[in-house]
């Protein structure tokens, strides 16, 4: 039986791991290769790396980081952040990513995912959706450019389109919950689960196995977390022991 995944996320800026709250206030949190190795050893099922550097030099450094991490890592590596062209995505795959996440650029040019899927197969293409609750609380907006741009696009309708656009997976981040450690947005997860059969990774707000259990019960196939692992408060294996005790199939 297919197990549920726990996925630590590394935000990378110029070759270093950083961590912020609501996509801002970044602080240094260590060396990506060392952290990647530690996460694999501690039971991570997969790793997500997001390149948050804003410069062209930072982009080049990110390719180096992917190469360095790939050399050491024997679990899947998904890379995203600022991917705007098929060429950029292919460069990341060649450097050692197994999947590439596309976010803002897919909103601006939905054909990008199709073009990418035709080249590398949908199973390598992840649609990253950052969603923020609408101000009137009726649904969620897709937000782009690190949350600074509210697109007005309905996040649930956007998720429903993902498969036909060429995505093989959805990475669903709640902008409201990100970095708060107060739990995933389970209402958002439920709403997305209803409109797609693609695997969905829940992201934003994790602090405990209970939060993860809530997200998995809301329909997530995998749960992503950053803060709790960076601060070494817990490990994927420790969380999986708790999930298994609650009847969730995990790899231990």
């Amino acid at each position: 039986m297919l197990t549920r995944r726990i996925i630590p996320c590394l935000d990378i800026d110029n070759g270093r791991v950083v961590k912020g709250v609501k996509f801002a206030n970044l602080r240094d949190a260590g060396d990506p290769v060392e952290q990647a190795k530690r996460y694999e050893r501690d039971g991570a099922d997969e790793l997500v790396m997001l390149d948050v550097s804003a410069t062209i030099g930072g982009r080049e450094t990110a390719l180096e980081t992917v190469r360095d991490v790939r050399r050491e890592l024997s679990i899947p590596l998904s890379v995203g952040g600022g991917v705007r062209t098929v060429e950029h995505a292919l460069a990341l795959l060649r450097a050692g990513a197994d999947k590439v996440g596309v976010n803002s650029a897919a909103v601006e040019n939905p054909l990008l995912l199709r073009e990418l899927a035709d080249r590398v197969g949908a199973q390598c293409v992840v649609l990253s959706i950052d969603a923020a609750a609408r101000l009137d609380d009726r649904g969620w907006d897709v937000v782009t450019r690190a949350g600074t741009n509210r697109t007005g696009i309905d996040a649930i309708e956007w998720a429903a389109e993902a498969e036909s656009m060429g995505a093989g997976e959805i990475l669903l981040t709640s902008f409201d919950q990100d970095g708060t450690r107060s739990g995933y947005d389970t209402a958002l997860l439920r709403a997305v689960r209803e409109v797609t059969t693609l695997p969905v990774i829940a992201s934003g707000g994790a602090d405990s196995a209970t939060h993860m259990l809530d997200a998995l019960n809301a329909g997530a196939d995998a749960v992503l977390a950053a803060s709790i692992f960076h601060d070494q408060d817990t490990t994927p294996n420790a969380l999986k022991q708790e999930l298994r005790a609650s009847g969730i199939e995990v790899r231990i």
């Binding site: 297919l2 197990t3 024997s74 050692g96 197969g121 059969t197 695997p199 790899r251």
Partner: protein, 195 residues
């Protein structure tokens, strides 16, 4: 130093496969040259992407017959994911396209009742392997040994005959368990064909 040749179809995650063999101390080279694929002691047919695109690349480089010959002569070959499927007769993914036909099986799509693509870790015997697939073969064909995993219903996890090993999962992404499998394929191949 063990040399491993990876068939470069231009559509596979060759960086991950390369890294996995390098961690085992192998020297890795990538090629789509038919003569080199024929002559190399250890050959890997990786694969990501569609069945039709994969077969087109193999035919365009005259690799189809080379791979068929390797399997019938029992010269070491490892097929990964689409690499397994290309060894079969045909696939629902690309109707009308003939596969290599060394594994007598039809590749079919997972039913719509289960999550597709199957992204994640699934049990294989006493371990877990990482899968990333929408298509699979359902039963172990005659003449092959192997094991199954379950996604809705059973499907083939891997097949083995002599020094041919074909995995539906990605051993290069399956942690220590996957590394052990690659190591045993190399050791088995070296015993069978001393060089």
């Amino acid at each position: 130093m063990t040399g491993v040749t990876i068939i470069d179809t231009g559509i596979a995650n060759t960086a991950s496969v390369t890294a996995a063999f390098e961690r085992l101390g192998c020297t890795v080279s990538l090629t789509h040259d038919a003569r080199r694929v024929a002559e190399s002691p250890l050959v890997v047919l990786p694969g990501v992407g569609s069945f039709g695109a994969g077969m087109r690349v193999l035919r365009a480089n005259a690799l189809d017959q080379v791979i068929i010959d390797r399997v019938s002569d029992d010269r070491p070959l490892l097929g990964i994911c689409l690499g397994l499927q290309l060894l079969c007769d045909a696939s629902e993914e690309s109707p009308g396209i003939e596969g290599l036909g060394v594994i007598n099986a039809m590749v079919t799509r997972f039913p719509s009742a289960v999550r597709t693509p199957q992204h994640g870790w699934n049990r294989v015997g006493d371990g877990y392997a990482y899968y990333s697939n929408t298509y699979r073969i359902e039963t172990i064909p005659r003449g092959w040994e192997g094991q199954t995993s379950t996604h809705g219903s059973p499907f083939v996890a891997y097949l083995r005959r002599g020094t041919t090993l074909a995995c539906q999962f990605h051993p290069e992404l399956s942690g220590a368990w996957g590394a052990n499998l690659l190591r045993s394929w190399i050791e088995n191949a070296k015993e069978a064909t001393p060089c």
